[in-house]
């Protein structure tokens, strides 16, 4: 991690040139958007891609891999069972069942995870795939407008598209949990899916800040580099003005792993400007967005 002092004032140039040049630049390309801009995909498509990728991985696993410890007290098979449980809850949510609104993401899906114990791995994989297909069928079978503006699931209240991006995020995260358990290299989503994930996670930092109890206003200029990244100015903590904003520059995948609580701030290659304590507050807020 490196830190910088603010840059010095501009040198002697004709009056007005700086403003004119920057305005022309913003007109040519809006600030905040990555270059090259990834192809735009829908949230459903991101979810489908994440599911397909995980499905392909599951198809390559041997019996020993399915029994390998993966997350918490779950082996790989139990973790896939957890995902079956999440799909079942999401389907209940989509069907208007209010009981899943406030249930705990981990605790409420534990029975589904436990159900997989002793089953053939192929059966677990097939059950999960069927559950994913049911979700896709529900979402595709009804226009987005047919669902409430916000859906409530596992303590989250989000529009359908955002909820599906969260699900894609979760599938990618657990795919990597399984890869680690099986001794395989970690995977990275395509840039279009990553862009949806960062566009959801970065503006959600205030939600994480509320969970960590961040009090004072902290303004952060967040720059996520690499495919699927972008730039955001976000105010965290209480409403007000932060006289000394901080800047964090880090790579997109590392930030997403932090948001998934699969990497710590110390694991990130970062360039920061500003108060390190404030930066720490922002990073803690990012990690607090994780579901499990």
């Amino acid at each position: 991690m490196t830190t910088h002092e603010p840059v010095s004032a501009p040198g002697a140039l004709p009056a007005g040139l700086r403003g004119r040049v920057l305005a022309a630049s913003w007109q040519a390309r809006a600030p905040g958007r990555p270059w090259p801009e990834p192809a735009e995909i829908s949230a459903v498509e991101a979810f489908r891609r994440a599911a397909d990728t995980l499905d392909r991985l599951l198809g390559t696993l041997g019996d020993g891999d399915w029994a390998a410890p993966a997350l918490r007290d779950l082996d790989v098979q139990g973790l896939v069972g957890h995902l079956i449980g999440v799909e079942e809850h999401l389907q209940r949510c989509l069907s208007g069942d209010p009981e899943v609104a406030g249930t705990d993401h981990v605790g409420a899906t534990q029975p589904a995870a436990a159900r997989q114990a002793g089953l053939p791995a192929g059966e677990t994989r097939a059950d999960w795939r069927r559950a994913v297909n049911r979700t896709l069928g529900l979402v595709r079978g009804r226009a987005g407008a047919a669902f409430p503006a916000e859906l409530a699931l596992h303590g989250m209240r989000l529009p359908l598209d955002a909820l599906l991006v969260v699900r894609a995020f979760e599938l990618w995260t657990h795919e990597n949990d399984i890869r680690l358990a099986a001794g395989l290299p970690l995977a990275v989503p395509d840039s279009s899916s990553l862009r949806l994930m960062t566009a959801l996670a970065a503006p959600a930092l205030p939600v994480g800040a509320a969970r960590t109890g961040l009090a004072a206003p902290v303004s952060v200029h967040l720059v996520l580099t690499g495919p699927g990244g972008g730039t955001w100015d976000v105010l965290l903590g209480s409403v007000g003005r932060d006289p000394a904003p901080v800047r964090i520059v880090t790579d997109t995948v590392g930030f997403c792993r932090l948001v998934a609580n699969r990497a710590g701030p110390g694991d990130l290659d970062m360039d920061i400007t500003g108060d390190p304590a404030k930066v720490g507050g922002v990073l803690a807020a990012a990690a607090a967005l994780a579901l499990d």
Partner: protein, 186 residues
């Protein structure tokens, strides 16, 4: 995160507006100076500065940190854009000259255009002196004395086709020399 320029390049690609502002504050004086050195005109040099920074922001991948420093990239880009402006001005003047010969008294350049023309001509005058004698002669007759190709042929005692081929070769050499001189003068 790599070196300072690699970091800036990554920030530009991520759409970091503050990165462009930082680069402008740090390097715009050098970019402006490079353009002004070629053009000798503040307004034209400012246009070049705008072109250079808009290009950097719109196409950040064109700058490769592995290939050199950002400062070098931007100042060279500024010189190339400035030379392009000079060439464009020379072409415009040549067209105007031809038009004047065909329709005498129809064009009345403004004082600003006359100043720009004089500045543009001074940039290439030294380069013309470096041409081989036979090429320099036809260039001077055609461009500085305003003769047509036929008139140049008669004055130099050579076929008209030879005049055209020498002018073509001279233009290519002038462009090359102009680039080299401008780069070496930085």
């Amino acid at each position: 995160m790599g070196g300072p320029d690699a970091l800036l390049a990554a920030r530009l690609a991520a759409g970091d507006d503050l990165a462009l502002a930082e680069i402008f504050d740090r390097l715009a004086p050098a970019v402006y100076g490079a353009a002004l050195h070629v053009l000798g005109d503040s307004a034209a040099a400012q246009d070049v500065v705008q072109d250079v920074f808009v290009d950097l922001w719109s196409h950040p991948a064109r700058y490769d940190p592995e290939a050199g420093a950002l400062r070098t990239y931007l100042t060279i880009l500024a010189r190339h854009r400035a030379v392009d402006l000079v060439r464009s001005e020379l072409r415009r003047l040549a067209r105007q000259e031809r038009h004047c010969r065909l329709a005498p008294g129809s064009a009345h350049p403004s004082p600003g255009e006359e100043v720009a023309a004089a500045e543009a001509a001074s940039v290439v005058r030294d380069a013309v002196q470096l041409l081989p004698g036979e090429q320099r002669r036809v260039v001077e007759l055609a461009y500085f004395h305003g003769l047509t190709c036929r008139e140049v042929a008669a004055a130099a005692g050579i076929p008209e086709g030879t005049v055209k081929s020498r002018l073509r070769l001279a233009r290519v050499k002038l462009e090359t020399m102009l680039d080299r001189q401008l780069l070496e003068s930085s």
